[in-house]
Symmetry: C2
Subunit: 206 residues, 2 copies
């Protein structure tokens, strides 16, 4: 059986859990406590050369790291990844954009706020907000007049962008002016097989 190493708060791990559910692929879930350094042990280092989650462990014990690589691997040959090479390149380009232009700024901003550290680092929060808003603006512009990111249907591109964009208000991003983004978030949440962040796991104690 597939095994997924994740953490309770990780949006990158949430992407993989949603796709596994949508594909009806059974898996064993191993949830690490990142605060206790469980992703930085030598043992976990053999599973993840980058010392982070998510990690997908295959039946033969080999592991795949990086959420984008895991999504593309699992979606291969399914309706969630276009067969057409050009459309697939479109999907892939969104996956890179998400990691660099959205996740890289929204994720730490969210963690700083959830952990109550944000007020002590105003310059860092300002920098992260500037970067994240620049990404959200490009996304909103693209989604205006479109239902999905690539072609006319939901793909792993939509799935990959969904978690950190939808959770960005936890990092005090205001989505009010991004109407197309808000409507798209609702569409993704309405897809068959979508599950919320806490599905199968307890919410973290604040």
């Amino acid at each position: 059986m597939l095994r997924l190493y994740d953490s309770l708060l990780s949006g990158n791990s949430w992407k993989v859990r949603i796709l596994l559910n949508q594909l009806a692929r059974p898996f064993e879930r191993v949830t690490l406590d990142l605060g206790k350094g469980e992703a930085r042990t030598a043992e976990f280092g053999h599973k993840s050369r980058f010392a982070r989650v998510p990690v997908l462990e295959l039946e033969d014990g080999k592991t795949i790291v990086e959420s984008g690589a895991i999504l593309l691997y699992l979606a291969q040959g399914t309706p969630y990844l276009p067969k057409d090479l050009y459309e697939r390149a479109e999907v892939t380009s969104w996956l890179f954009f998400e990691q660099v232009d959205l996740q890289k700024s929204i994720a730490p901003c969210r963690v700083h706020h959830l952990h109550g550290h944000a007020d002590s680092m105003p310059q860092e929060i300002e920098r992260l907000h500037a970067e994240g808003y620049a990404g959200l603006e490009k996304l909103d512009k693209w989604l205006t007049g479109r239902r999905w990111l690539v072609g006319d249907r939901y793909t792993v591109a939509d799935l990959a962008l969904f978690p950190y964009v939808s959770m960005s208000p936890q990092g005090r991003f205001d989505l009010e002016r991004f109407a197309a983004v808000r409507q798209w978030i609702a569409r993704v949440e309405g897809e068959p097989g979508w599950i919320n962040l806490w599905h199968g796991g307890a919410p973290p104690v604040r």
Copy 2:
């Protein structure tokens, strides 16, 4: 004929030019002056929704953005991208790591130093150095005892990581303690079809 929109300094564009040369694919090169805002015009916005280079324009006028997506598209069906799905996932994971953990810190650090702004932003340079060194350490650890990133041959994973890692000293990163990285850089430069950054274009005026 393929058309590549790039810029003289862009390491992400360099990746694509190397691969096109290694694949012996002829292409027309259109070099933008980013300092003059040539990537932010409305016209270029139709080619690149993210307002940046590289952009690969296909024969039918459609465009592919994001260097990682372009590399995966061009390498499909060639020796530079493994056919095996697991090995391909390994390649893809390195492409994501490069954008988030290396390029995102090394590229701006390099630009700040090349443009002479670095001394006025010590905290920002310190932050970028900390991030970039963390990525370089993971890379060096992986390359120790290995010739290539994935399997036993050069792939687009090596190509994708090469430009910003090899140019990191321009951002005052010291590669002295990363012996495996330095040997790997020399191997990549020795690959058939490798071309230097200025191949076919003039070096920028300092």
